[in-house]
Symmetry: C3
Subunit: 656 residues, 3 copies
């Protein structure tokens, strides 16, 4: 567990650098990320490199005892490169290039950019690959930010056709897989296929899904190129990429597979403003963030990181990029930092060292104000640094991996598929996955977020938000695991080619749940359906109904029904299927029951307090407005805090 910071020496006079480094150390910061937007300073004109300033910056940091996370600068190609190769610009759905003048103005499929990236990455890796201060690498920055995964350029189209050829081999196979006979959309060759855009009405869903998969694969291909260049020139230094919270436009699992560390950017207040939360929740958690949002992302990135994941950018104060940008309550920067560590983080790195007084992000707070005084976040970071030392001193296994018996399956293609083929306008995959996650957290569970093809052994409870395409071996793996498994509606409803399974949904899940979803309906926001579990327990189904034919197999039980008699919740043994998106309270109630059956012990926490376990320590966080008392823990066991957690407070105690 250590602290880091994001730093832009190129934004400040060289005369400030040494003092900056000294003050970082004062706060207890150990690592410094640099360089990800510095291309125009590294190569101010074609082929003319200016290393002097960067050599100096790295030396200053290294000499101060700081570890450098060196970045490739490819997120911001300079103007001269764009003017030489205008085909670098991505093309929007409106057919127009997305212009230079901000960042991420490049097309993953552009051969010119692939080549230019190779050149600059090689130059940077050659220069600093073995520099003693350089301890880690970051490729590019925030792939996908500003909706930049999908491009409709000629270069993308050419590569998409190749990608299709590789996938389907023959055009007949593609026509059959997609079902292009519908509406006479048949192709005679791969070269007849366009990007699925600007069509008269919706383009073919299989076509669209493949375009999304292709675009995602292009990101992985591009990243792999960078990783290989770095590995060859900087052996022994872990390579990271810095992901963004819930930017789901590419398959993070595939990119992470080529990395050593997955890192992400945690902006709890900006996220609250931008995500799906209702206005009253946005007001309620205004200056704290939603208690489960950062945690969900921690668990997402922990799962895909070979080394402990990092928060590469931690919100230190107000940001600039949400519609409204409130300030965190005092204490929240510390709380968020500890929450990351509790979820297994190896590093929490604040963004940024000092608020820049110019350009797009001039209203984004840093650890220092633009007039170079420590802001609240800096003081809280210093406190965290002290506490880290205390925790480490008290516990040998403070850096232990997080272990849990509860898993939640999260799938990127599911999001694309439901966007392309929603059937109900508000069927929102990340939101529903988050609701399941949040219910588990409200019951006190630590949660592994895993892909559908992950090993399932060792789990007692596996929760599967609506998973349209279920791997063929999933049912077998679940059974082998012995875990209880809960599926959301629409699970198993599609084949990999985005078709309806031949025997209808739940497709391959019928092996676990011998039933037939013979009809579905999507529900308007002002329509919900009563779900009755038993005399004491009822709730509402929202958004969706799977109408289930249970057939004659007596092992398939109907555990809840809708008011019109259709099954709302069916199970066979340890396999459970929800036919609707239940309201949050009912979801939590049912998860608690199932967890208990699975031998787990739920702990009902309400909406404001959260618990995490790492190594020998239990961490508690209070997002609420009132102090929270912890019962049953010996005062001597507290490493951080006491038995009374104040609002915005943190406690950590030894788990007996």
């Amino acid at each position: 567990m250590r602290l880091g910071v994001c730093y832009y020496p190129e934004h400040w006079p060289q005369s400030m650098w040494e003092d900056d480094a000294r003050r970082m150390k004062t706060l207890g910061i150990e690592q410094v990320r640099i360089g990800e937007f510095a291309w125009s300073r590294i190569e101010p004109a074609p082929g003319e490199y200016d290393w002097a300033w960067l050599d100096q910056a790295i030396d200053v940091l290294g000499n101060a005892g700081l570890k450098v996370v060196m970045c490739t600068p490819t997120a911001t190609p300079p103007k001269w490169l764009i003017d030489r190769h205008p085909d670098i610009l991505p093309v929007g759905a409106n057919g127009r290039p997305r212009a230079f003048g901000s960042r991420r103005h490049y097309d993953f499929s552009s051969p010119s950019y692939f080549e230019a990236s190779r050149t600059i990455c090689t130059a940077v890796a050659e220069r600093y690959g073995k520099h003693p201060a350089v301890a880690f690498w970051q490729t590019d920055n925030e792939y996908g930010c500003h909706n930049t995964v999908v491009s409709y350029s000629p270069a993308a189209l050419a590569r998409f056709r190749e990608w299709l050829k590789a996938r389907y081999q023959t055009i007949d196979a593609l026509n059959r897989a997609w079902g292009t006979v519908f509406w006479s959309m048949e192709y005679r060759s791969f070269d007849e296929i366009d990007a699925p855009v600007e069509t008269v009405t919706e383009a073919h869903p299989s076509h669209r899904l493949d375009y999304r998969r292709f675009a995602s694969d292009e990101v992985a291909r591009y990243n792999r190129m960078q990783v290989e260049i770095i590995r060859a020139r900087s052996p022994g230094r872990p390579v990271a990429h810095n992901f963004m919270q819930l930017f789901n436009e590419f398959d993070h699992y595939k990119v992470a597979a080529d990395l050593d560390v997955a890192t992400w950017d945690s902006y709890p207040l900006g996220a609250l403003d931008q995500q799906w939360f209702a206005p009253d929740l946005k007001a309620k958690w205004l200056r704290m963030g939603h208690p489960d949002f950062a945690s969900f992302n921690h668990d997402v990135y922990r799962g895909m990181s070979k080394l402990p994941f990092w928060v590469m950018e931690q919100q230190p104060g107000p940001v600039n990029w949400a519609d409204w940008n409130p300030a965190p309550l005092p204490g929240m920067v510390r709380l968020w930092s500890w929450e990351a560590f509790a979820h297994g983080a190896g590093c929490v790195s604040y963004f940024r060292w000092r608020q820049a007084p110019f350009a797009q992000e001039q209203m984004h707070a840093g650890l220092n104000t633009p007039d170079n005084r420590f802001d609240i976040g800096a003081h809280e970071a210093a406190r965290v640094a002290q506490e880290i030392r205390a925790v480490a001193a008290a516990n040998a296994d403070a850096d232990a991996a997080v272990r849990t018996k509860v898993a939640l399956v999260y799938d990127y293609e599911a999001k694309w598929l439901f966007e392309i083929h929603p059937q109900g306008a508000d069927f929102h995959y990340p939101r529903f996955a988050f609701e399941y996650y949040s219910a588990l957290r409200a019951l006190g569970f630590d949660v592994d977020v895993i892909p559908a093809n992950a090993p399932l052994d060792g789990y007692a409870l596996i929760v599967v938000p609506p998973l349209p395409v279920v791997p063929d071996d999933f049912a077998a793996r679940v059974e082998a695991s012995g875990a209880h498994v809960v599926f959301g509606p629409r699970s198993g409803s599609k084949t990999r080619d985005l078709r309806i399974p031949a025997q209808l949904p739940p497709g391959p899940l019928a092996a676990l749940l011998p039933m037939r979803v013979w009809r579905v309906e999507s529900l308007r926001p002002n329509v919900t359906e009563t779900v009755r579990v038993d005399a004491q327990t009822e709730g509402r189904g929202r958004h969706w109904r799977d109408l289930i034919e249970v057939g004659e197999d007596p092992s398939l039980e109907v555990s809840a029904r809708f008011a019109d008699g259709h099954p709302a919740y069916v199970r066979r043994g340890s396999a459970h299927y929800f036919a609707s998106v239940f309201d949050e309270r009912l979801t939590e109630q049912l998860f608690a029951r199932i967890a208990a059956e699975a031998g787990l012990t739920p702990r009902v926490l309400g909406d404001s307090v959260r618990v995490s376990r790492r190594g020998a320590l239990t961490y508690m966080f209070n997002y609420g407005e009132r102090a929270h008392g912890i019962d049953g823990v010996d005062a001597a066991d507290f490493v951080i805090g006491t038995r009374e957690i104040e609002p915005q407070g943190v406690a950590a105690y030894r788990t007996r």
Copy 2:
């Protein structure tokens, strides 16, 4: 009265066809529509026709005793044709071609497409024009679907200029008619005229209206070409086109004039979700559809069809294309089917035989599920088929034409004009026309929907929703008919060139109603005005107020006033004029009074029960949630149902 189905043999293995045909017969289906999206299978490569499969499909159907409705496949030109003639693609208001990849990707004005259509229609008509199984034809499919009437292509512009030349003869005449002197918009030749799009602020309304008229005429011209090809090659087979509910972007009367049968697609639940209804109504009628929406369309298409109209596509279960897609309540497919017949339908044809497991419409239900089992709709269709036989056995005139003394004028140009020139942002012509229609239906009347130039003789009550451009002879024809006539606000407010009449509104209606609308105002949604009819009767004016100067003619009476004293409802003898869009209750009350004056007998039904009369039978439909008792009918007179209609129930009894 007979049942049909839409079938896509090209989507299924040939091995299934015979069984499909057999099972259709089992249900009582008599006709099968095929081929409208099959171009890429009929002509897989330029000039290479593959008739074998289609010959076979038609033979299988014919051999099973089914009548085939053969379609021209022009709704979905194949990719090779588009690649050869990219000018086929329509051009959007943003100046970009609307791409291949779904359907209807053609420009009605493209000479290449006109020629290609001629060729494929000729080929199909030559091949099957005299085939014994082919009993009917359908041209293309759903003209106008996905907003495809208006295109901004160079081809459209060239033809628009020709169209203007034909209409105005000289450019001076056009300049005078439009009033282009305003804002120096004068033209020196027809070749200076562009499409009215992408202008700095709103384009000239007369220009825009003419562009809409032109685009509509292009549809009629295109359809006429197809009809002529078919008629020449398939004598004796009625030719239909299949319209969509309230797709008003072209003048259906003009297209229907060239046809034998007007058919339409009835999707009551999809329509409810997509149309103007408020969210609470969308929840209320969620699984039934609005009780007057299908009826309104039945009456629209009945009026323009030379032979009895058909429902070519009847919703059989949930659809895929609305924002939310609920399932019909059990019984509704039967109810909708009988409602169509009660309104005069010759055929109700379900869409589709079997849900396709692939492509854009894979979530659209059919009579069979994708795993080829009969769905609820199939069972209800079978019941309808039985009941048709019972009705036919009991009544010689079951197929009689619908006769009524109540007419409602519906005008396509009115919709375009109010869209172009709304003056109040929510002045919604189809909605207001529907509200008048619905009020008449709630009073138990059968309604003929007619164009403004239709003969008016034989009607006792004619309701005219806001009709901006009134034909010159309309007043005379109304007077000759002796009917009571009710005009909505803004009637007679514009000349054919979209100008204000010289003597102000109501223009030519002043012959009936000697008054002067000297001022108008549109009202925000949160502003309504009290309307007082008499001590017992008052309501609200919404959306609009015509301020009327009644002049000195004592025969013009003010029957209701607004709170500020302005007339709200004036009449002279049997001519009535509403100066606002009254709330639905007041509208119904006033219609009831006027109908009584006209010698008709209103029957107040409320919002859930509806009555229709065809031949000797009276049909009743229960859209509500409670059973409805029918008084005063002898139990022996029921041919369908009993004196107690269950929810979603149908009754038919002999009218004494």
Copy 3:
């Protein structure tokens, strides 16, 4: 004080002109604006001028004793000119030309149009510059209407680069000023700079602000060209431009600096519908307009006009261009007219003489209906003309300039800056400026609206809505004036280059208010913060919070705090700073206190009655629904009205 009218002889048969002129005189109209949209009649073909009709029209008006306001016709270039020079068309943010077919279809930066404008203006000015009936000139019409200030054409880009060169001299200076090092946006030459549009995410804010400044300067340059042509050919005739209410896309002060008269278009009902007011206010003031909206604009244009400002277009009845277009209550046209005069207007000119029955504005009322009868507005105008004579007879100084000790600073760049760089999505500069203005008016003050660089001497109270860029000498000028000054939040928060000041906000205002805004936060619409002034006084902060560090200077007092203790209102002596946008009631309460301290006497009027003073007269206006009694005025002192003002009434009495 005199009345005028806007007249379009080219829209009507020549045979009507003499009668029109005669009837204008009947109403008491003295001046007539003509010609601003008549280019296609003046020059129907390239180089072919048709002066005959215009000579005749001017003669008819002049012979009737009417003064002509002659316009240049450049707001509507004819089609032949566009076809010859397509580069005249402005280019939208989507990269596409904005087409011919309405008005204002020209690019201020187009060299072709600059030249064509020079030619037509010269021709018109040569022809009529010394005509005895031509008393005034108007350049073009409503610069900026329909969002036409900013264009993205190649011509604009070329001139933008020149503009940047002139501003920054070297590319390094620009890079430094903007801070392009952020995200590697550095430029190597001015020719590398593009328009800030279509970027992947937000373009650089300094870049955007400079583009807005450039576009604004282009308007001033274009207008100056016209003014110079006219001045040289029509000596002694004042030159006006006709601005639109709150069309803030260019700096009106800069354009007005080249004019003799600033005129504006007052459409109180259209404005109410289009502006930011909440739906309930739009309903409340539906047929009166907001009581402060026209006044605010009067005061804006009074301030920038060398001669008394005019209302060039006064709403006479319903308009056509708002979403909903209600009719003014009887009396409102008179009320609006007198309100303009009370605020210092030299002329109120109605738009238009007669409602045109054709083209885009056919639903826009005039003084005459299309069938040439006087409408309500005409009768009210005639009454105003009579009253003007009575007022003039009774008061030698009826035309005196308005004098007041209260000023409000209004700044165009502030609006652009907050649009480009809002930080809170609803930070709406004109709305907040209007709220401050409205609070002052509700306290009975006359208000000068002034630019930030205006002389401040003579004012007792200066109100400064959020002013991000404060002139360097502003603090000194305020201090020299001795006035109390109130700053809104975010004042002094940016430098001219759109950076954060080196010592943080309030930047140069720290000279007045020695404090440090160390953090800010924007607040969602459903979040407000309590502001406590004293035991009796509290309110809500909305939209924004500046978090202020007051430092050790004891002269800086905290006059109100937020619930969490942060200062909400600080002052030092006569300088006041509000750290949030207070609710309207609290704003008014605080303004009343500060005004009293400044030696002024607030008069609490509520929301419906307004007072203005000009010369020896006090004018009162009743926007409310109930009569309003005036106490303490001698009945004999009334020149208009009595001590009881009816709703929609006006009173004027001698101020003792």
